[in-house]
């Protein structure tokens, strides 16, 4: 596989960046799935950055925060980093409240997988 391959519907890898399209509802159920998938890819491939794209996400609870924190710790340990993009109003509110914006850069409504797709 080249370093510019779509891996699944919800993920793609561009250069050394793993883009993850976060589902409509980010809760304990979906957060566990995303974590597993992301960790598998990071183990297999040379990934320096994970970008979480919240374009489609209308619901997020504290399990989502745990998922982001977990990926952040893993990437830090590997010398990489984590970003969140395309956060809508609700997701922005939750990320703000959690204080995670102090350690993970969060962009609202610009960039992200939506724009990256051909």
């Amino acid at each position: 596989m080249s370093s510019n391959t779509k891996v699944q519907g919800r993920q793609k890898i561009t250069d050394k960046t793993l883009w993850i399209s976060v589902p409509k509802e980010l809760d304990h159920h979906s957060a566990e799935q995303i974590s597993q998938e992301a960790d598998g890819l990071v183990r297999q491939k040379d990934i320096r950055e994970i970008v979480f794209d919240f374009s489609d996400t209308v619901f997020c609870d504290s399990s989502g925060i745990g998922m982001l924190m977990g990926r952040y710790k893993m990437m830090k340990a590997l010398g990489g980093n984590v970003r969140a993009v395309q956060a809508g109003e609700r997701v922005g509110k939750i990320l703000m409240l959690s204080g995670i914006m102090k350690i993970i850069p969060v962009e609202k409504k610009q960039g992200g997988m939506q724009d990256e797709k051909e």
Binding site: H28, F59, D61, S63, M69, S98
Partner: protein, 143 residues
């Protein structure tokens, strides 16, 4: 007085987190809530139900119940499990405290419940289970 009551009981599997949220949202629809109020209540319900699944029953499949009562503009919700219970409720409710960091819990569940509801009470007994009671005034916007 407008009054309505419902109770749901479901298995403690993570598929049912979304089910619980949608059910409570459907129940409160008759209160003419704002989109934000619905999102706030869904988040609080999601936290309490997730806690019952992960902490209360530690992943085993048992029953969770949610009771909802509407009294005019007041929504009261009770999320109950018959799981392991909480020894020190005060400590459990401290922001960022979690007993399961290895499961990537953020310790923000109770924080979110308190942020999004007007009132949160926890009653628990080790070995018997936990009841989280939450209240919120709904549909009072623009008054």
């Amino acid at each position: 007085m407008k009054r309505n009551e419902m109770k749901i009981e479901f298995d403690s599997i993570s598929d049912n987190e979304a089910f619980a949220r949608v059910t409570v949202a459907a129940f409160m629809a008759q209160m003419n809530p704002s989109m934000e109020e619905v999102a706030d209540v869904k988040t609080a319900v999601s936290e309490a139900v997730t806690n019952a699944i992960i902490h209360g029953y530690e992943g085993k499949v048992h029953k969770i119940t949610i009771t909802g009562v509407i009294e005019d503009a007041l929504l009261s919700l009770e999320v109950a499990d018959q799981g392991v219970g909480i020894r020190d409720v005060k400590k459990a409710m401290e922001p960022l405290y979690t007993s399961r960091p290895e499961l990537e819990r953020s310790g923000m569940g109770f924080l979110f419940m308190e942020a999004f509801m007007d009132e949160v009470q926890v009653s628990s007994r080790p070995g018997e289970g936990t009841i989280v009671t939450m209240k919120k005034m709904i549909g009072q916007h623009g008054e």
